[in-house]
Each structure stands twice: as C-alpha cells, then as structure tokens.
C-alpha cells in the first residue's frame, strides 16, 4: 500500500516536472494575458503550478498532456479573472465587440515589438475569459482542433473567432508604422 502511494506520488512529480519544463515558458506568457500586475501575476502563476501538480495525481491519459496543462492553466486563470472582475467590477468584452471598436490611433509600428506587445496585452486583458483563452491559444500557435479540445468550443466557432482575431490583429498591428481607422 505504502509502495503504491509512493509510486503514484513519484509519477505525479515526474509528470509535473516534465510539464513544467516543456510548458513553463508558455504558462508565463499565459499569465501575462490574464494579469497585468506583476505581483498578482506571480501569485497567479504559483496558483497555476500548484493546481497543475495537484491535478497530475489524477492524470488518466484521457487527453494529451498538452491539453491537460492548458485546460488546468486556463481554468485556474479564468477563475482568477472572474474573482478579480467581481472585486473591480471591470467590464470585460468579447472579440465581436473589439472587432467593432476603432483601432487605437496611437498604434505603433510592428517593428517596435515591445510597444506592440504592450498594446496586444492591453487588448487581451480586456477580453472575456473564453475569448481570452482562444486568442492566447492562437498566439501560442495551436490549431483550431486543439483550441476546441481545450476550450470546448466547436471547431466552427473556433474558426469564426480566429477569423475575428486575424481581423483585429490586422487592423491594430500593421507593419510599417502608425495607423488608424
């Protein structure tokens, strides 16, 4: 009995360590999409890592490790957003609303990566949790099927959302300098 428990713990540790090694940087980026404040972001990331480690005790291979990691991370982060949203009463909007907004006129050249990134983060951080999950997964380079697997949104809906994201990014982030509507 004791040996079985020790083996399960060691498997849990191994799974976590491998996942943290492979997806650690992606999780850091994910954290930036959910929390702007550096201190709260550090707390959120610790919460994500803790949830991930605890979750691996029940890993049964029903989905890939990648899907598992992203589901846990997005679900923890979305709960964080909902919690913060309740405290701050900040209005979160959907991709459809962002699409109809005029592009920011102080927009920057895509060559200025730092400024472009800050602008992208501002855009992401005002999105509703599900739309945020889609855009973050898209930016991580996941395909529509994988995004659907993680979020539970149908491939057709993911495709629509990705189309919107492309439109938004196309309007907000032009190559070669300032722009607007």
């Amino acid at each position: 009995m004791k040996t079985e428990t020790a083996a399960a713990t060691s498997r849990q540790d191994e799974l976590y360590q491998a996942a943290a090694e492979t997806y650690g940087t992606a999780l850091e980026r994910l954290g930036r999409g959910y929390e702007a404040d550096p201190d709260r972001r550090r707390d959120l990331l610790q919460e994500v890592h803790l949830a991930l480690w605890r979750s691996f005790a029940g890993f049964d291979g029903r989905c890939s490790v990648r899907t598992w990691v992203y589901r846990v991370a997005h679900n923890v982060a979305a709960s964080h957003v909902i919690r913060e949203h309740r405290v701050n009463s900040r209005t979160l909007i959907g991709l459809d609303a962002v699409e109809s907004l005029p592009a920011e006129h102080d927009s920057v050249s895509a060559a200025d990566r730092h400024a472009a990134l800050e602008k992208l983060l501002r855009l992401i951080q005002q999105l509703k949790p599900l739309d945020r999950q889609v855009i973050l997964s898209y930016l991580e380079g996941l395909d529509a099927a994988s995004i659907g697997d993680i979020t539970g949104i149908s491939p057709g809906n993911v495709a629509t959302k990705i189309h919107r994201i492309k439109n938004i990014l196309g309007r907000w982030f032009h190559k070669g300098g300032s722009h607007g509507e």
Binding site: R42, S55, A110, L117, L120, E140, T151, K175
Partner: protein, 202 residues
C-alpha cells in the same frame, strides 16, 4: 496582409521576455498543505458563526422561562444546525484537483457560474428561511413575556412600537439580502445563457 500580421504577432508573442517562476516540488507540497489547512480554517470560521448563534439562543432558553420564547430558541437553533449541515454538504462536494483538466474551459466556466448562481438562488432556502419560523416565534414569545411583566401596562405603546420596529427591521434585512442575491443570480444566469448559446451554435 492578415496572414503576414498574424505571423508577426504570434512571433512577437512567443519571443517576449518572461520572468521564470521556478517552484520546487517541496514548495508545492508545502503550498498544497497550506491550501488544505486554509480550507479547514474557512469552514471552522463558518461553523463558529453558527456556534455563536446556537450559544446565544441556548442562553435565552435558560434565561427566559416563557415556553413560546423557548420554542423560538429551539427553532432558531434547528435553523442554524440546518445551515451548518448545508454548508458542510456543499464543502464536501468540492471538485477534485484533476477536475480542472477533466472539463473543457467552456464546461468548467459554466459549472463555476452555475455553482455561484445556485448558491445565490438558494440563499432563501438554506440561509434565510430556516431562521424565519424561529425568529418569528421567538419575537412573539418575547413580546408576550414582556407584556406579562408587572410594569408593562405603563409602557404598552413603547413596547408595541419597539417590537414592531424590530420585526420590520428583521423583515427588511431578510428581504434585502434575498433580493440582492436574486439580482446577482439573474446577472450570472445571463452569462450562462450566453455560454449555452455559444455551445448550441457548436
């Protein structure tokens, strides 16, 4: 153009500098234990509030000889015990850590919202109503006991107004808490409807 921009932004996104958060397994184990003890303390706090109610009304049973007051106290204590039982049951139904991965983000999000909505909607049944019969009988008993005191006839009007005000105050607080929770539950329901619509489109 869109494709060109997409490549550029995913590249910018993936190459951003990030601060590495390194957590050792020992630190995770410590955090996990801390989390579990925090849950235990939170439950204890909730039980402590009920203990205060039970102790106070237990004292009134001893303090007031009037049977109606005593019956009210017993009913309030029963209401508090029912609330503790509901809280305990709710706590026991907490999700296991792996559920974070078993459910897709859509399911998880909806389930969280439904849990919050049901809790808010059910405030009347598990938090407010269990106390109503007890408090009503207690106040009625206390009113009759006060009116039976030798010096009561000289202060009938004051006693009646005081009791009316206390009863109205209790009713207002209960109705206010109930209304606020119903309003919040309706707001959450709208979010759930939006998620359901999104799923139906799937």
């Amino acid at each position: 153009m869109a494709n060109e921009t997409r490549m550029d932004m995913t590249d910018t996104w993936k190459n951003q500098p990030v601060e590495k958060v390194a957590i050792s397994l020992d630190a995770l184990r410590r955090k996990s234990q801390k989390l579990e003890s925090r849950v235990v303390w939170r439950n204890l706090r909730e039980y402590a509030a009920s203990t205060i109610v039970i102790a106070s009304f237990g004292y009134y049973i001893w303090k007031f000889p009037a049977p109606l007051v005593r019956l009210g106290c017993v009913l309030v204590i029963a209401g508090a015990l029912f609330m503790v039982y509901t809280l305990h049951k709710r706590g026991a139904a907490k999700a296991v850590p792996a559920e974070l991965a078993f459910r897709t983000c859509l399911e998880f999000h909806r389930r969280e919202l439904e849990r919050q909505r049901d809790l808010l909607r059910g405030v009347w049944t598990w938090y407010l109503l269990p106390f109503v019969p007890g408090l009503a009988v207690f106040l009625l008993g206390l009113y009759r006991w006060t009116m039976a005191q030798p010096n009561a006839p000289a202060h009938v009007r004051v006693i009646m107004i005081t009791f009316a005000l206390v009863a109205a105050g209790c009713a207002l607080v209960f109705a206010g808490v109930g209304k606020l929770n119903q309003w919040a539950a309706r707001r959450i329901q709208r979010e759930i409807d939006a998620l359901n619509a999104l799923e139906k489109e799937s």
